[in-house]
């Protein structure tokens, strides 16, 4: 096909435009796409030859992509009827003529349909690309940075010999290391740009700032070029997250206020951290030289260690973790993290965007399919005489349906090409932030196979629906079509007549007591033609779901109540006392301070205690939050808060130990075994989701304390947080709202984008489809308009009737959509989140009701109304006699 097109160009001195407008339209279009693709192939090949040294794969990839482009294009275009039959001129000519005429006759309808198809293809391809790029980026970073398969954080003294012994006893360890870190509070970190007056502090950050030196064996911190960074003395590499958040640049100065004065570093670059890249991580690492580290270590920072292991077989991680936790001599008062958790947390933040994009595109495809079906059925009805005539002269059904299919499959093909092109641009923008935090994903076969597969899927689904609808042609009978202009056969006509007769037997005016007669007629029409009016409410239903779900997820993740999913009660302030040698002294001081502070209404204190429980490998450690749970506002999935002799477990722990409410659960505290009853299961996404809660006082090893405080009316949590932060340097005091928003910043900003995208697309599609649908209805109802106009209904009255019908269906669809989004939508999204294994198994939306259940529906209804008003205004200029003759 292409070869022939090209030979035409050369041999007969015909340009593509000649082929386009005098020969075969589709062949012309395809020739253009081929010439475009071949020129790309040529350019890429030339550049490849010129830059022979560059074998990094980018150019090779481009050439691969060109070849894939042509292959898919050829395959897709062969699906277009009329393209495949190159040998016979007549059918091609017919397809071309028909399509061109149709485009000329109904430009609005065709463009609207094309736009919806482009949207669908675009979002589907973007979703696939973002997903592939995200996974690729995370994997690339993991490959280069080699994060540990298991790590344990710890504060305070530890037994180095025990760690050595453990390593010797476990041959499955490939390598291991102890990373020394020194933590500084964000409040003592500041930056300045030399030669300018620009400066600032990092005090807004709520996560721990840990200064480290570069590791030698694994867990590397990588710079922008994905190479292992080594700062010189006086230099530092700052986390990429801070670069983005505070707008830092290389060359800026980083100042640390230590106990012995100001330490100043030049920012040499920015590092990607495979362990702590995700915003869900509670700490971040700065890289300094060995000498600088030593100085910082002795200048007042809080020392901390991470014990890290890489295993020969990463699949053995959970067994290894159990073995580590069952060894009592090993340090473990901090969080334990596995490689899988790191990977999931990293992938989830941006993976959720990809899922949201795919979700939006699925709904859009549903809308596009409904629309395609409506448009095709309408066309068949309009052109039933032509179809009858074609059947009468003996054209087979396949030729006739091919005539229609060629147009729609070509439109879908064009939509896929345009949508795919737009997706390349969009996905670059959507993943740029992520690629900075992680690594540039290498280009693999999957890089182009993912979006292409998504596009082929869109193409196939649309074509399948077209074929299905076009089967109607097989059932059309010549006489019915030519004489009665009906797509129904005799039996169907009789059935329809009977149905109609039954329906009209009862007078439509029985209950009419004056009032707007137009509305009465409209209601009767809606009742009788419910099937034909289904498209609008369905589209609005889907549109509501489409804009509500991402926003609901966004507000849920933004809500202060979301902490109840983080295993914490709803409160205004969270105060963390982490392990230190004088922990108990600090706690006592804090207790006194909070008790006498009138600005705090209520303070709950919980101790983080390490207890032991029976795992697969014997006794292993488990973190338990111990305290008074009466009056606690945490949401329990099943059961409730623990009282004496009871324990409540997080979802992941309940799954891990295979217990549920009312089961028995044995723990060992201070060497003695206690059998407790499981009283509740709750959701938790902190500490890898593996936590527990017990009532009473801590009796074992306490690794820290958490306070949840609610402020008295009118008090500003931020002010109180600053106050206590200064008074208790060892404590981390954060206002809860700020804590949640920072912890979930990736997720929320991603959802904000997805929600915005969904709103824009939903409104665009709603307006487009309403206009398209009503325009087609108007054409279909010409006769009806003519009759009513002849009887004395004015143009504005006819317009009012159309508006009434449109707005009523739009309102009904929107209302049902709101109900569906609030019920089914929540279950659907909840299921997806639960599958992600984050520790949330039952996500209840925390919506902004005014926004999603009032403002959004009103917005959509306004869009429907404006479109209806715009289309119906055409009725005012109507021509009764022309309508009647239609």
């Amino acid at each position: 096909m292409s070869a022939r097109g090209i030979s035409l160009v050369a041999g007969r001195r015909e340009g593509v435009l000649d082929i386009l407008f005098q020969g075969n339209f589709w062949e012309g279009v395809l020739d253009i796409l081929y010439i475009y693709g071949l020129s790309g192939l040529w350019t890429h090949a030339l550049r490849k030859r010129r830059e022979t040294r560059n074998v990094a794969g980018v150019e090779l990839f481009n050439i691969d992509l060109d070849i894939a482009y042509h292959w898919v294009l050829t395959w897709m275009s062969l699906q277009i009827p009329g393209i495949g039959v190159l040998s016979s001129e007549a059918p091609q000519h017919m397809h071309f003529k028909y399509t061109l005429n149709d485009l000329r006759k109904n430009p609005g309808v065709n463009i609207a349909l094309l736009v919806v198809l482009v949207f669908s293809a675009f979002l589907m391809a973007s979703g696939a690309m973002v997903m592939e790029r995200t996974l690729g980026s995370v994997n690339a970073l993991f490959d280069q940075a080699k994060p540990p398969h298991f790590l344990q954080m710890h504060k305070g003294a530890y037994d180095k010999a025990a760690l050595d012994a453990f390593a010797t006893a476990h041959p499955e360890i490939d390598s291991w290391l102890i990373e020394d870190m020194v933590g500084y509070d964000s409040a003592v970190l500041a930056w300045a740009r030399p030669g300018t007056t620009e400066s600032g502090t990092l005090s807004k950050s709520l996560i721990d700032n840990l200064f480290v030196t570069q590791n030698t064996a694994f867990d590397f911190l990588l710079d922008a070029d994905s190479t292992i960074a080594y700062p010189a003395d006086g230099e530092t590499f700052v986390p990429v997250a801070y670069q983005q958040r505070f707008g830092l640049q290389a060359g800026d100065e980083l100042r640390i206020r230590t106990d012995v004065g100001i330490e100043s570093f030049v920012i040499a670059g920015f590092v990607r951290d495979s362990q702590m890249a995700s915003s869900l991580s509670s700490a971040t690492r700065f890289l300094v030289s060995d000498a600088d580290f030593e100085r910082l270590h002795t200048s007042g920072g809080s020392p901390e260690i991470i014990v890290e292991y890489r295993l020969a077989d990463p699949a053995q991680t959970s067994n290894f973790q159990a073995a580590y936790e069952s060894d009592q001599s090993l340090p473990k008062n901090g969080q334990a993290v596995t490689g899988d958790m790191i990977r999931i947390i990293n992938a989830i933040s941006d993976g959720l965007v990809a899922i949201a994009l795919m979700f939006v595109s699925l709904l859009l495809i549903a809308i596009a399919l409904l629309n395609v079906r409506f448009v095709i059925r309408g066309r068949l009805q309009d052109e039933v005489h032509q179809i009858g005539a074609m059947k009468a002269i003996g054209l087979p059904n396949s030729t006739i349906s091919g005539l229609y299919l060629s147009k729609y499959s070509a439109m879908t093909l064009i939509a896929c090409v345009i949508g795919g092109g737009l997706a390349i641009v969009a996905s670059r923008a959507l993943t740029s932030g992520m690629q900075a935090s992680y690594a540039t994903a290498p280009v693999t076969a999957l890089t182009f196979l993912a979006p292409i597969a998504a596009l082929v899927l869109v193409f196939l689904v649309v074509i399948a629906i077209c074929r299905h609808v076009l089967r109607l042609i097989n059932r059309i009978e010549v006489v019915g079509a030519l004489v009665h202009g009906s797509t129904l056969n005799e039996r169907q006509t009789a059935r329809r007549g009977k149905r109609l007769a039954r329906r009209v037997r009862r007078s439509a005016f029985t209950s009419y007591r004056g009032g707007d007669l137009g509305r009465r007629i409209s209601l009767v029409d809606l009742r009788s033609e419910a099937g034909q009016w289904m498209l609008l409410p369905l589209v609005f239903l889907l549109a509501v779901v489409l804009i509500t779900l991402p926003t609901n997820l966004l507000t849920t993740f933004q809500s202060p109540k979301f902490v109840t999913y983080m295993g914490a009660p709803e409160s205004d302030l969270r105060i963390d006392l982490q392990f230190s040698d004088d922990l108990e002294q600090v706690r006592e001081d804090a207790d006194t301070a909070f008790a006498t502070d009138s600005r705090l209404a209520q303070v709950h204190r919980f101790a983080n205690e390490l207890v032991e429980t029976r795992g697969d490998e014997g006794w292993e450690s488990m973190r338990v939050e111990v305290g008074d749970y009466s009056g606690n506002t945490i949401q329990y999935l099943r059961g409730g808060p623990p009282s004496a002799g009871e324990i409540s477990l997080s979802v992941l722990n309940a799954d891990r130990y295979g217990v549920d409410v009312d089961d028995e659960f044995t723990v060992r505290r201070d060497g003695s075994e206690v059998t407790l009853t499981v009283n509740g299961v709750y959701q938790d996404i902190t500490s890898g989701g593996q936590t527990a809660k017990m009532a009473g006082d801590a009796t074992g090893i306490v690794t820290g304390y958490i306070y949840y405080a609610t402020t008295a009316a009118g008090q500003d949590p931020t002010v109180i947080a600053t106050d206590y932060g200064d008074r208790f340097p060892a404590a981390t005091v954060v206002p809860m709202r700020e804590y949640v928003s920072q912890t979930l910043s990736y997720v929320t900003s991603a959802f904000f984008n997805a929600a915005l995208l969904a709103i824009v697309f939903a409104i665009g599609v709603a307006a487009l489809i309403t206009t398209l649908n009503l325009t087609l209805r108007l054409a279909r109802e010409k006769r009806r308009s003519g009759i009513l106009s002849a009887l004395g209904f004015s143009g504005s009255e006819l317009a009012a009737q159309l508006r009434f019908k449109a707005i009523l269906t739009v309102v009904i669809g929107t209302m049902i959509g709101v109900a569906v989004a609030a019920t089914l939508g929540e279950a659907l999204v909840g299921a997806a989140i639960s599958l992600a294994g984050l520790g949330i198994s039952n996500l209840a939306f925390i919506p902004n009701p005014l926004l999603v259940y009032v403002a959004y529906p009103l917005l959509l209804m306004a869009v429907g109304t404006i479109s209806a008003v715009a289309v119906s205004s055409r009725l005012r200029r109507g021509d009764t006699s022309a309508w009647l003759r239609a």
């Binding site: 007078s507 009419y512 002849a790 004395g792 004015s794």
Partner: protein, 265 residues
């Protein structure tokens, strides 16, 4: 049809119901524009039954549509009683059509989602929304009179063409219009149904309704008081059939046919 049923013309007809002055209509969608009406001056008397005849494409239907405001004339005036229809807004024109005009088309244009009786009730209820009982009584009486009461609750696909056209007449009369317009009312009917419909129309005229009917069927036109002949958008001739009416009905038919032959019809 038997000529004995031909209506009688009252000698007291003097008031003019409808007047057109220099009525013109051109369609600009063609190149050059097609001129369909070339300046029509026509007066229809109160209570008169006027038939408009002419070859296909002579502008008969366009004249009807322009007079009734369903099509806007390019130039000229139409007066209905005291109203200049060409000066009316679209809204007022619609109201005038509702309250002062009735229509019968070649094809029975009915709303398929309503039964026959509802279709007839519709314009009457719109014109008199407060007088539902009165409207219903009037419509039911008409249904009886035109012999379609037994199919009143039928769907429009369940009745014959003749019954549908009689229902059209009912609907047109339901608003008690000043003028009844009929555009080839029997064009789609067989001969027995044609007779049914023309008998019904003649009856309506006998009751005093002014009728303007476009037809190409002499057997229908012969029922009229007067016949005008249209050629290429111009009114070229007219024949008053009133003189022959009572004296000799077959003379009336002969007269019409010979007149039409003079116009190469």
């Amino acid at each position: 049809m038997t000529l004995s049923e031909a209506p009688s013309t009252s000698p007291a007809l003097v008031t003019t119901a409808l007047v057109t002055t220099a009525l013109e209509k051109s369609y600009h969608s063609t190149e050059p524009p097609t001129r369909v009406l070339n300046g029509i001056d026509l007066a229809v008397r109160q209570g008169e039954f006027l038939a408009v005849m002419g070859a296909s494409g002579s502008g008969k239907s366009t004249l009807l549509y322009c007079i009734s405001g369903m099509d806007r004339p390019t130039a000229g005036h139409v007066r209905l009683g005291d109203l200049d229809l060409t000066e009316l807004s679209e809204r007022d024109m619609s109201h005038t059509r509702l309250t002062k005009m009735g229509f019968i088309f070649q094809q029975a244009y009915f709303l398929s989602n309503f039964n026959l009786r509802d279709n007839i009730l519709l314009p009457a209820l719109k014109a008199q929304p407060k007088a539902r009982a009165e409207v219903e009584a009037r419509v039911d009486a008409m249904l009886e009179r035109f012999g379609i009461a037994h199919v009143a609750d039928h769907g429009i696909t369940q009745v014959s063409g003749g019954q549908l056209q009689r229902a059209s007449i009912c609907r047109a009369l339901a608003t008690k219009p000043a003028v009844l317009f009929a555009d080839e009312p029997t064009g789609a009917l067989n001969s027995s149904m044609t007779l049914e419909v023309m008998d019904a129309l003649t009856g309506v005229h006998r009751d005093g309704t002014t009728i303007m009917m476009v037809t190409h069927d002499p057997a229908c036109a012969v029922r009229a008081d007067r016949v005008v002949y249209l050629r290429d958008g111009l009114l070229v001739d007219e024949r008053d059939l009133g003189a022959w009416q009572q004296a000799d009905t077959s003379r009336r038919e002969d007269e019409l046919l010979s007149w039409l032959r003079d116009h190469d019809f």
